[in-house]
Amino acid sequence: MKKTLIGTAIILVLASLVLVVAKNNKRTTDGSVKVGAVLFLTGNQAVFGEEIRNSLLLANEVYNADADTNVELLIEDSQDDPKAGISAYNKLKQQGVSAMISAGDQVSYALSPLANNDKLPLVMTAAAAGEINGDYTFRSFITARKQAEVVGNYAVEDLKSKNIGVLYINNIFGESYLDALKAALHDRAAVVSEEAFNIADSELRTQITKVIASEPDAIVISGFGPGYTTAFNQLRQYGWRGSILTVNTLSIPYVFNTIAPANLHDTYFTDTNFDISEPANAKTAEFIKRYKEKYKTNPSFIGAFAYDMYTVLGSAIQKCGSDPEEIKDCLLDIQGVDAMLGDIDFSTHEMRVPLYVKKVEDGTPAIVKVIE
């Protein structure tokens, strides 16, 4: 009996703490609008979550400095787990957010039906593969499908490849990339080997051995994480002298700088205009400078997408107010926002930005083809 009482007491204490959390932050400062963000700050993709968080905080600072309406940014951890993501979503909703940001395909998949039900605009980032459903869901990112299409066409048309070997990550990103690549290649080229690696694998020796042994004209690598980074060095170590085509993960500074420059010859990748060494416009240069000052490390396109996404949201809030419905309509019609990655257009619920094929020459990326 006593144990049951103690037990119930402990649960009540915890429950009331949870209640306090939820109620406490409900205090509304005059005219303050709230935006919630559910990010994977722990888990396998924590490194991306960290960058998104940093960029959002930076964007929030910049926005509040100029704008009339103050926007409060509330960030919660989804632990890269759909159910924890839903908990975070509910908590933020409780605190009265007018718009929601989410990171990651799995979490966004779980949140999207909720957001549509609650009529709350949800903008997802770092989500390259899931489908967008419903009126209230938007994506601020580049899809794996799109990158695969571009790479497939480039390999066939520009590099005249007939046989392609593929190394891909065994998750939603890699799978959807592989499917789209095959569709893009169609009959024009054959995929002679497809080898998967897991996100936690840090070496791909045998997969690489198999791919090279299948004697392709070009090798495509799609994915991210430790295995992705080591693949480039290992491919060259094992004697691969041909072309490598890959996704924009390569452009991330800590990935790019980890690979020995000598191993990056004949390497092509799809990317946005975001370039650390040669910022495409003043806004990008500003962002890079501020990010480096504040966080002592380089941002990548992941931070750029998050930053632009917030800029757009801020712009929508500025123009249309704090009502979620209005924000959603505003996003669809948004135009002329001063963003880094290009002219932001959300009318199809997907942020459309120009895409490029870049080649690594003398250790720095150079644009070789403009796509859109």
Binding site: T206, G225, Y238, G239, A260
Partner: protein
Amino acid sequence: MDIIPQLVVNSIIAGAIYSMVALGFNLIYGTTKFFNLAHGTVAAIGGYTVFYLSKSLDFPVLPSVIVGVLFAGCIGYLVDKSVFRALRKKKASGMVFLVASLGVMTALQALVAILFSSQFQTLSVGSAKVYQVFGGVITQVQAIILLCVLLIMAGLTLLLRFTRFGKAVRATSDEEEVAKIVGINTNKIIGRVFFLGSAIAGLSGILVGFDTGIEPAMGLSLLLKGVIASIIGGIGNVYGGVLGAFLLGFIENFGIWKISGEWKDAIAFGVLLIFLLFRPQGLIKK
């Protein structure tokens, strides 16, 4: 590059890495008899220490490695002293140790992520030197790993067989109660074993860091492979762990060759199950 010789080399490299983890794990398991989930995180800590010293503070490589190994050993020792020793006193069961070690692993891993962020970092600089061996390619770091495994294996064997410390360790592993009766200060012995085993783990983390790279969560997967290697080789036995590790390396790599990379973990655990079914005491009996 021929495929079979390369696969053989790959298997040997994988086996060497797993061996190092198995050596440290086996040593500690022998005396404590529980699965310490935090062992892998100690390996990561070793790697990150070297990262901090050599990349942020610009220390030369060799001293950094030595400090890294010692520091990892200290962390292992401290964890034992603060957590596991108390649990041993209470005669807690394996499950309690397991959950406690889970707590330690979670906390330490998160601390590393706070201090160093979750980015995947590599310890090596520049392009790796590569050797051709019987038609396969091996890098300098990988060759060093192999060498270290052989040295540590030899060192441990000598230590366990010919020193008084070694005898005390073996006594404690066989039967802790009896060892105590005979007058051995088992807690002190176990503490030192933790230091030694964790130092080895630290070295393995450092070497993996040079070969590929480090990230805060790298510990668990390394540990699991080390555990499988130890079991199929014969748990508690120094040679067994190494043998098991190389066997695991071969089966995994040839398995990937024949099936595919995504089944790698299932293959490793499948091997474990087969051994548990048909030869639970492992390849080499204690």
